[in-house]
Symmetry: C2
Subunit: 325 residues, 2 copies
């Protein structure tokens, strides 16, 4: 982990080490190709944001147990599996600045490896022998794939509404982030009120996080997010900044842009749409919405006992919408 | 279900109806594209061999419960999910004689739909609130994807041994068939001895079933299995009939055939390899192996109490190796 995120999670580095030990144990296999990919994934590992969030949520509501670390592995494996499949679906070239699995090993292998990691995630979940954990994981797996399918459907028709956008990012992103926070609480047997609060905090954090992510697609440049600006547009994904710009612009602009996207936008088109979004205040309005979610996340935290973990979660909420990558 | 298989399962048609009721309930969603594919899958549904096997195993060792029917849905959803992904991986045109999901809706959708059905399968599994069931499902999901990955690795190097072949089909096919039989027993709370026997019976049945499947690839023609003869060879999958033919043939034939497969075999090459397998008795030897597994399956059944269900399982074992499609 790097930069600000690393600083936020610094006080919990022993928990992260314990997670890492279990992660390596559960990633091992006896199939050569699996081990080769697993090694690549470990070298180019991401921020491990989700397991860290689970660990800090556990600390904010109790004392981490063996099940806490194992469940942190469950969510990381689930997240990794979905990223690998998403990269195939989007035909993405890079992930974290490095070639994606399907670019190195072909799509076939990426599909199978995603399935394998998903199964491994389940194996890890059953290790906890806790039915509540299984229920949460099954539900989040369903919400995530439902979100992806809805996103595909919407990118084909380009007819997404603001309400559908929120539903989509809730399923696609916030569901897992919320599950991490709730699972942290479940694994330490936290009181129901703390558990509910952490679950809600996670849902708001996830919404703020994804809105910011969608904003960065208009703000970023290659090298920062590890992907070029306007990639969502290329994939015909209409996100909040564009939806808000549509609302402030003359009706015919919307039609024109939809037509451009349908026909496949080139580099020039993309830059024009980015300008359009800026011109009609789409980014500022999206930012206000992200702030709204962030504020709700912070409010929800206030019912938890004061602790370094609670403070870290509050800082995370601020970070989610101020980060520049 | 059609023909002989339908006759075997005929006495259990009420159980199958009850399964179907739960299947339809658990397949429903509120995403348009999901429902469209689900409808297509229901219309072109397969033999539903695995859920039927689970139901009959339950009858052979106790009295079916609500959990029995729900678990039958779990295995059918899991099986369907893996078929959809396998068809993308193999770029198969037809399944059950009809266009595959990825040919109609594109690979992206097929990947996401497979993930969705896998998640739905988990949701169904958690409905049973039974940790043992979850453990079995997680283990089988891992074995199946491990088997597929091993198969891919072997098809790239064309260096599979007889032992690896058995490991591969055990993971890829027998694991789920065995799990169906075991799960039937688990859901009726059968005595441990019955449960063990059904699990073993399923593993032997699965082995016999897959060996016959691999033989049919040399025997079948399009329209029978719904796929052309020699498809495995085109996908560089070396199966038991060829492995056994290699053993009886001069060393240089093996090298020549491996070279042909590596370079991509055309129609003429495939026919030549089919002739080679026949000439060196590969099919007869594979048949003897299938008979061996079938006999072990029958022996294992003998420790179960006599019942129409046990008789049906015995008939199934015979059917697994005598079927011509």
């Amino acid at each position: 982990m790097k930069g600000q995120l690393k600083r936020i999670f610094q006080p919990f580095k022993n928990d992260l080490k314990e997670f890492d030990r279990h992660f390596k144990r559960l990633m091992s296999s006896n199939v050569r190709i699996v081990d080769a990919i697993a090694k690549y994934l470990v070298i180019h590992k991401g921020k491990q944001f989700r397991p860290a969030l689970l660990l800090v949520s556990a600390r904010a509501s109790g004392e981490p147990q063996q099940a806490t670390y194992v469940t942190a592995v469950v969510v990381e494996l689930l997240h990794t599996a979905t990223l690998i499949h998403d990269d195939v679906v989007d035909n993405a070239e890079l992930r974290r600045g490095f070639p994606t699995i399907h670019k190195i090993w072909k799509s076939k292998v990426a599909i199978l490896m995603g399935d394998y990691l998903l199964a491994k995630s389940l194996i890890a979940a059953t290790e906890t022998q806790n039915l509540e954990i299984m229920n949460i994981i099954a539900t989040v797996a369903k919400r995530m794939s439902k979100g992806e399918l809805l996103q595909f459907q919407k990118s084909r028709n380009l007819d997404i509404t603001e309400r559908e956008y929120f539903q989509l990012i809730a399923d696609k992103t916030a569901s897992l982030i919320s599950a991490c926070c709730e699972l942290g609480a479940v694994t330490v047997d936290a009181p129901p009120d703390y558990r509910e609060r952490l679950k809600d905090y996670g849902e708001y954090l996830g919404m703020a996080f994804q809105i910011k992510d969608d904003m960065l697609d208009y703000e970023g440049s290659i090298g920062v997010l590890g992907k070029p600006v306007g990639l969502d547009l290329k994939e015909k994904k209409i996100t909040l900044p564009l939806l808000y710009a549509f609302r402030e612009s003359p009706g015919k602009s919307r039609k024109r842009i939809i037509r451009t996207l349908k026909n496949g936008a080139d580099k020039k088109d993309i830059l024009e749409i980015v300008r359009f979004v800026n011109e009609y205040g789409g980014l500022e309005k999206a930012h206000l919405k992200a702030v709204e979610f962030k504020d709700r996340a912070l409010e929800t935290l206030e019912g938890l006992p004061r602790s370094p973990a609670r403070d870290a979660l509050a800082t995370l909420a601020e970070f989610a919408i101020t980060r520049n990558k």
